[in-house]
Symmetry: C2
Subunit: 325 residues, 2 copies
């Protein structure tokens, strides 16, 4: 596997499926959240730029978005996003999920006609979401480039990332673009096909690209000690990770909590909390700070722009998962 | 570069931009042509199948296309397209062209803000066309899989195809899918970026995959001896290609024509005819039959289903370009 010897990556951002789509409405984008995310990413990428004017990069004909075509002079003072390299990965939310679960793509078995049809239908759905995410970012002047894991030739073995030549992602970054990847249906060498989730992609990219930090944008404020719908749920604000991958809650201290309190049940009764922290801890273990934060808030903006590297301010709302040094 | 040791490829089909879009209307698909193409491809791929029922594979919510979700039983007798392997490549037509020419993406220079913005805008436009082509094919029950050259990591040097790992295309074919590629904006090692045309992709894939034949679907009946808008234009029906790449017109004989009559002017006054034949001849030279034919006709169906391999029937309308054996 190639080494990443070119531009250092500042941040990998996960746009959670629940954050950018309406969970309970089939193939419906949460436009408000997507637009705020795009705007916050623009602010982050273009901070330090003299020009604050946005040069849209989606020139497509589109009902409701009839932008006049650009003139060359309009671009002359456009910031070229070069110094701050981001990678965006998004989940599927209400795109793809229906098609995948209806047909069982994640369980494999491409020789079954229903699985093959579901594979095609899933890819159509998730790539159409990808196109809309790329468009939203481009309208904010972010040079976004959609890249599908299937087209990149990525495949899995027993649902874990197997082949993953990432040179095309690195080349896109080095050329000054912001790659936008997504959870996708892919081939699997053990079960023919499966769903490659955005989280697995992020873990892989984080290990290869070694970004300074990873931000997960979700529809809740962070990771709680039990399902956030519970009235008593407490937001876990700071979690420390040891070199061996074990972790413990540092803040809030009142919990006095350490890992053993959260035993992983066969059904994770903490609302997936333990799984979420364990996945984040695998990234943090590499020395990469992880922030899990609610989309479209002042807190997400602070996570994105890197102002949390170092001391976490008391008024920041979210979950920070970091390696103890 | 890897060798293609797996399934033999029957045909590479080019859907010309002029055939599937409305040339003079920005980002407008020629739905009628696209639907006929999809239907003809289905007939071709599924001939010999007992079932003639179409199982749609686009399950997306969509105004005007509200298909009920499939039940597993609906798929039970679906033909699994396995024996007939096709690859589809489409042009851009009224998608991408405006964005690319406005910004000069084909001329390179990504450091110019207008070019970078144009690169992003071009990719948004061509990938949105790709998604619609994939959807149209999927609605006909064809297991189509969109694959973008940029995402495949393909790049050019002096506008010629350079890096082109095609294992992801082969793996998709071997898994029983029909890859759908397209002309795209890509990185170029000599001029930073350019446009990789569908025709260049086809030439490259033909050399690597060695299909039995290649079909170019266009908006005219084939290649003429002068611009087809000329009243006197004569359709060139059969062209023979020699091992050294030279070629001559065999039919119609009345032309008595051989290559020297068509000298390449700096402006190809034959309406691009010489260029078109020369490109096709480069494929034919490999022993691969090339058919150029009008989209959505009985003639295109005969070209697609392989019934022209061997003797060309007298009533077939189109241009066949083949190696003299």
């Amino acid at each position: 596997m190639e080494q990443h010897n070119s531009k250092p990556i500042r941040c990998i951002v996960k746009l959670g499926g629940a954050a950018i789509t309406c969970k309970n409405e089939l193939e419906t984008i949460h436009m408000e959240n997507l637009m705020i995310v795009s705007s916050q990413l623009r602010q982050t990428l273009m901070s330090g730029s003299a020009s604050s004017r946005v040069v849209g990069m989606d020139w497509s004909k589109r009902i409701g978005f009839s932008e006049p075509p650009l003139l060359e002079s309009d671009c002359s003072d456009q910031l070229v996003v070069d110094s701050k390299t981001f990678v965006v990965v998004h989940g599927a939310g209400s795109f793809g999920h229906f098609q995948a679960s209806k047909s069982g793509v994640h369980k494999g078995g491409l020789s079954k006609p229903i699985v093959k049809a579901g594979f095609v239908a899933t890819r159509i759905s998730v790539t159409s979401l990808n196109l809309e995410v790329v468009r939203a970012l481009a309208r904010e002047g972010i040079p976004s480039i959609g890249m599908s894991p299937f087209s990149c030739g990525w495949s899995t073995c027993q649902r874990n990332m197997e082949e993953a030549e990432i040179s095309m992602v690195i080349n896109a970054i080095d050329a000054g673009f912001i790659p936008v990847l997504h959870g996708d249906a892919v081939l699997d060498s053990s079960q023919e096909c499966t769903i490659l989730s955005g989280d697995v992609i992020i873990r892989h990219l984080a290990a290869k690209l070694k970004p300074e930090y990873v931000v997960f944008l979700t529809d809740v404020s962070g990771v709680y000690d039990r399902p956030p719908t519970d009235l008593d749920a407490v937001l876990l604000q700071e979690i420390d990770v040891c070199e061996d991958g074990s972790w413990y809650v540092v803040k809030p201290a009142l919990l006095g909590a350490s890992k053993p309190e959260f035993t992983v049940a066969s059904h994770d009764t903490t609302g997936g909390m333990v799984t979420k922290i364990s996945e984040a801890a695998m990234i943090a273990k590499l020395g990469i700070d992880v922030f899990i934060v609610k989309v479209g808030t002042e807190h997400s903006l602070r996570a994105l722009d890197g102002s949390l590297l170092g001391e976490i301010p008391n008024d920041w709302l979210g979950t920070a998962i970091r390696l103890v040094r």
